[in-house]
Symmetry: C2
Subunit: 336 residues, 2 copies
């Protein structure tokens, strides 16, 4: 007959909760009690690890979130939603900053698992094989946020980048533009690079607008300096451009800044549409028209999916959230 935690508690003359606290090193008991309980466990040949893993509730009410970059206001907006859901579920959120660095990411995954988080939200980054294997082996639930994995069956929450980029380009076309350029992110980024480029191309071709390689500038990342450089390069190779789709709001704001420095008026001479709808988009001059992602809702959904796994053990469906065009003042109707 296998002994249970109840037997341990009974023989040691303590409550089940105390045994559980001792097994999880949570404190709140004397050393004397601890050794009495551990002695009973030993005498019964009881497997505390099995207990710790299943028979008792070992939730720490903490979830861990990994972000590649904290500067982006994308993070705050996503985190607002994560924290709302965590709060509703009585949990706290620990944030780790990976800088898209593989070694650092592994270190943080290890740390979160050592600290016994109940689950992990892995945001805005490509899920590498080693990350997946490590988390899976540790049996810690994981949700991907604002990213997805083609290789591994990890549930995710994101918008459809291809459709959202298509919508951005179509907005420029609907405003009468035909000389449309794109300042794209990384050419080979399978999450935020390729789908946005392909969506942009498809919108142009669906509307009979010809496209040459000069219409698109590729950048090293999705940041402000990429937008600054991007505009300069785009103007050089495509001087007739009247409207630009920048693949992130930070890049769009870099585009606005470079235009200002070059004496090009936005939106009078060039229209600019961004992607993300960061807080920053409202703060820019002129306020930025952009493709909005429901970031707070996405964060909330990711955390809720994590709690669903913890409570039911079942894997939830991935969620594709709706995008929408947020019209502000950086895109102007073109009348020819």
């Amino acid at each position: 007959m296998t002994n249970t935690i109840k037997d341990v508690a009974k023989i040691a003359n303590v409550s089940i909760a105390t045994v559980s606290r001792i097994l999880n090193a949570q404190g709140g008991y004397s050393e004397k009690t601890k050794f009495r309980v551990l002695k009973v466990i030993e005498e019964l040949g009881y497997q505390p690890n099995a207990v710790a893993r299943g028979l008792i509730n070992k939730r720490t009410h903490t979830i861990g979130v990994l972000f590649p970059k904290l500067s982006s206001s994308l993070v705050t907006d996503l985190l607002d939603g994560i924290e709302k859901a965590a709060n509703d579920n009585g949990s706290s959120v620990i944030v780790c900053h990976t800088e898209s660095n593989g070694e650092k990411t592994m270190k943080y995954l290890q740390l979160l698992i050592e600290k016994r988080v109940d689950g992990i939200i892995f945001a805005s980054e490509i899920l590498k094989d080693e990350y997946y294997q490590f988390v899976t082996k540790a049996k810690v639930p994981m949700i991907l946020l604002s990213t997805e994995s083609y290789a591994y069956p990890v549930p995710f929450v994101k918008v459809n980048d291809y459709h959202a980029a298509y919508a951005a380009a179509k907005h420029l076309i609907d405003k009468g533009h035909t000389n449309i350029g794109m300042i794209s992110g990384k050419k080979d980024d399978i999450i935020a690079g390729i789908p946005r480029i392909e969506g942009f191309k498809k919108a142009l071709s669906d509307h009979g607008i010809s496209l040459s390689p000069d219409n698109i500038v590729f950048s090293r990342g999705f940041n402000f300096p990429d937008g600054v450089e991007g505009l300069k390069k785009l103007i050089g190779q495509f001087p007739d451009v009247t409207a630009i789709f920048a693949a992130s709001d930070e890049m769009a704001i870099g585009t606005l800044s470079a235009a200002y420095q070059l004496g090009i008026k936005v939106p009078e001479e060039i229209s600019v549409i961004g992607y993300d709808n960061l807080n920053l988009a409202e703060m820019s001059i002129p306020p930025l028209t952009t493709v909005g992602q429901p970031l707070a809702k996405m964060g909330e959904a990711a955390a809720e999916m994590l709690f669903t796994i913890m409570e039911t053990g079942e894997t939830p469906e991935s969620r594709i959230m709706p995008h929408k065009i947020i019209e502000r003042m950086s895109v102007k109707e073109r009348k020819e």
Copy 2:
């Protein structure tokens, strides 16, 4: 004779490191070894807690950082420095987001202590009595970053807000302005409110510039909307204003945005100087002249001070870091 961890290791026939790992529940040993070691500990009447507290190295190589708000790029810049120092010391950084909420702050302090962080950096927020008492009782080292405590002897790293605000106002005076307004933060904030207001006033009075209550607008916070509202209010009560000191870069960028909406040209009609030198300051239109704080260096210093306490047990001196005026394009010389 008191037994040491060495005796335990010898009798149990394991390494000291193994005993240490068992006492700290760090894994990497079999259940069999664990019980053999715990048995020896019991037989020797050895006090593992005393061990855990002093005789062995119980560091988890994790430090916790509390920020009131993650959206601010202040955070990234501070965190860059913290992570650099942590990395140099082989430690990881856990970030918690308190939203300046007392209950949430207490919950996170508790969580960090439960997770056995080696030390805490408490950033950009007033240190309340209950926070101080809790952390002190837990005997976890703490450093204040970009804030200080008048009530408690906790080492801090920050700039001198009074002197930095004085420098900002003096920069406007040096550029020939005499109708100078201030969009201040919270009137009763003893860290970032009062010292900046008083520094501003002192600079004006030292240079024979008269000051009426209409020169200063008080805000509810230090954010973008406070700057937007602030400019509207300031223009209303002080229509002759030609130069403005905004008490944070986010407020300064709100001021630029409101000016753009009102058709007021910066710097041609109104000059604006900010405070912080966030990444954002370079991205604004026009690029923002501001009072720079060496944020990355401040973060690095705070983490290094924490490691000093851990290693030596001695309390380091607080550090006042130098500020400097970063000239960009939002302040214009006034010739009358």
